[in-house]
Symmetry: C2
Subunit: 101 residues, 2 copies
DNA sequence: TACTTCAATTACGAAAAGTAAGTAGCTTAC
DNA sequence: GTAAGCTACTTACTTTTCGTAATTGAAGTA
């Protein structure tokens, strides 16, 4: 990949928000903590990729993973403060889609 | 791909804005009409993909293509009204990146 | 004719995404 | 006690997209 004069923070933000499924996963989690299967059902994403994305988002400090040792096991994902801070971004996209699509 | 209960407009918007390079191309064009080489130089994107993305954005009515038959040829790309309406989205991402990255 | 510039386009290997089947841990059913 | 079910992944494999580099085409210039 070539060099760029682009602001690296913006660039990084675009990589995150722009990565496939990321924004939609955050959009789902804005409704509150949700478990793996719930997210998987709410989006046309495969378990394989959802697992991958959640790990990335956890690593970025955007999503938190909580395991409840019930039967059967329950794993809930929720937004951290950093994750919630993306609400405005997602809402703007939502607004735009209502006006223009 | 599976079925989804997701709003199709939001879904479409995410596909657009979320597609790699799309938001960054729009970000560049917010500064005014620019020619192919200028966009290519401002981003770490290859000509192959830039060409592909610009065609998609033109098809979506977000970007306009203007050819000037000068020597050498000049092709300028600019945002349509629909394209400009994405400014808020891009600015929100920019703001977020400043605060959190 | 050979050479230059710009805006693409093509060819091809590499990376990411999509699909589907399998795994692991624990419980209830038979 | 083993078979079946539930949940949350994981693995194996195919298809699509991306990245790099070389090439094309049009139009003028040396």
């Amino acid at each position: 990949m070539k060099e760029t004069a682009l602001c690296p923070r913006l660039s990084k933000a675009m990589e995150l928000v722009g990565k496939r499924w990321t924004a939609l996963i955050i959009y789902q989690l804005l409704e509150g903590p949700q478990r793996f299967n719930a997210i998987e059902s709410s989006l046309p994403i495969s378990g394989r990729l959802l697992s991958e994305r959640l790990k990335e988002l956890e690593k970025e400090g955007i999503v938190e993973r909580n395991v409840f040792s019930e039967v059967p096991i329950r794993v809930e994902y929720s937004l951290t403060e950093k994750g919630h801070s993306l609400e405005q971004v997602v809402r703007e996209i939502e607004e735009w889609s209502k006006k223009w699509l």
